[in-house]
Symmetry: C2
Subunit: 328 residues, 2 copies
């Protein structure tokens, strides 16, 4: 191994803290700084002694960072930060607004190409590892169908939505794949499945004093876009139970491709994640892709990239010869 890859983190929420943790597991990388919009003195890095800066300090640190991992949100932060920072640094991000990916890619690509930087967007697990498995599945079994199931997992967006319902003091929402649907897909029969048939939603809600439970339940299960197309269960619990049993962020799911190579032969490919911590796993993916971005930049591959552009071997700290000998 050559010198350690110098990694910096922009944004210190759950994802940024996950990147810190992941870096402790990857000795070929070194965390050279955490950048945040909050006052640096208020940040508590995981490893004592990690330099902490305000976001503005990044301008003065060009040349001291090999890859900057962007840990901001897709809605407010990345649309602005992604292109701006790719003009100065190699970057990796987890932009996950699927519908806006082409537009975001174009903006980051323009900035990174002009500055001869390498910027990997939309990494993580979905988009990310699930996307890769959708591409592999379709390419290996062109006569087939792909199904993505999510869960059991905590959905941040849906949890936020129930917390905005009048009468709700707190709550979380879990998305669950319907077991019968997963089994039908695994059987290779390529079933047609409606939104309602694929997933259910389960809410754990703490009511405000005096709130009407029935009214809250109705408001949740009929909420357009979020819940009305699903079978939703609402469980009312105490604030104490919420913090005791629902404080972690598990997630996961399945990408299943089934197809036929001939009429007689059905083939099924399944990729599954079972995650105790969604942000920590996403962070681990970002860190592995930071290694690839560093290598692609050294190889002169500039511009915006996605996980589809990254050969698997680039993610590993091992050499190509070692990978062939040990893992092929």
């Amino acid at each position: 191994m050559n010198q350690a890859i110098r990694i910096a983190i922009a944004g210190h929420g759950n994802l940024g803290r996950g990147v810190e943790a992941a870096l402790t597991k990857n000795p070929d990388m070194r965390l050279v700084g955490i950048y945040s919009r909050r006052p640096p003195a208020t940040l508590k890095p995981l490893v004592a002694g990690t330099p902490v800066y305000s976001m503005d300090a990044l301008n003065g640190h060009v040349g001291q960072i090999d890859v900057l991992i962007l840990c901001g949100g897709s809605k407010e932060d990345l649309p602005q930060q992604g292109p701006a920072l790719a003009a100065q640094f190699n970057t990796v991000d987890s932009f996950d607004t699927h519908a806006l990916i082409p537009e975001y890619f174009a903006a980051v690509d323009a900035a990174a190409t002009a500055s001869r930087k390498t910027a990997l967007i939309a990494s993580g697990w979905d988009p990310g590892m699930f996307s890769i498995n959708r591409v592999y599945g379709e390419a290996l079994l062109p006569d087939g169908a792909t199904y993505t199931f999510w869960g059991k997992g905590l959905s941040q967006g849906h949890s936020d939505a129930i917390r905005r319902v009048p009468g709700v003091a707190g709550g979380v929402q879990y998305t669950l794949p319907v077991a019968a649907a997963v089994e039908a897909v695994r059987s290779g029969t390529r079933p047609a499945l409606s939104t309602r048939q694929k997933h259910t939603r389960e809410c754990f809600v703490v009511l405000k004093d005096g709130a009407d439970a029935d009214a809250v339940r109705r408001a949740i299960v009929t909420m357009p876009h979020y819940f009305d197309e699903y079978d939703t269960t609402v469980n009312f619990i105490s604030a104490e139970e919420l913090s005791r049993n629902h404080a972690t962020m598990p997630h996961g799911g399945f990408v299943i491709r089934s197809g036929n190579t001939t009429a007689a032969s059905t083939q099924v490919i399944e990729y599954r994640l079972k995650l105790d911590s969604n942000p920590e796993f996403t962070a681990s993916v970002l860190v592995a892709y930071a290694r690839a971005v560093h290598r692609m930049h050294l190889a002169g591959q500039f511009g915006a990239k996605t996980v589809f552009d990254v050969a698997p071997g680039l993610l590993s700290p091992k050499s190509a010869a070692q990978l062939r000998a040990e893992l092929l």
Copy 2:
């Protein structure tokens, strides 16, 4: 789509016939010839009118084939054919003698580099898709353990071995993962598992007239390297039952990586294949990689390659922009 990629097949056994079938599902490719050591008149191509040639004719067809898919065996055919044909053609093969991969890679690399050809070795599902998932798993969860389980599947090598036992008229062998071991691995506890704890072997054997069943069973279950480290079941069946129930070649298995991103968070990644036909799926993988090899050759990436060197997007007939919009 530009002009169809011109594909040829060298070797017309189960794998070669699988490649023919796979090509009918990939309209961006065109089968321009099947090459065999058998007399061309004895070959029956799947699609009437497919040109059939003797292997020697390949020398005269340089420039007429974009990618040659090598469908010979790893023991007898590929060690000689791989380097020899990579000196004239872009190639894809399914070399699967894991221990000899470094040596085979070096020989093919020397030939392909000298001739400015692109030669992808050891493609298929193991080595191949399973290998990719071992690399991804290790890179995403460096603090973890990887487990590969095979089956339920027909093992060609073990079936051959039981057919060589005196008194055996015919037979097949299936490898089965031990369900309890798979569950233990899925739980994320990183169990230490012996060979015997991971897989069992099940044989279906037709005896020759007058053969001693007990002696045959003993000879099988104690056979060094093949069976002595496993719990093996031997079932005696009729020749009629063998051909009725055991004529297909199912296979599959699991690659499971479990690891911790922090002490509190266990993450589990699972990749699973359930294949009605092992050779047809392997063939489908070879065909998708032939597309990638054609593109890598056009991009000037010469020499021997493995699946670790191929970005996922190169396998798909879709453009990078289309993949980003549809599958990311």
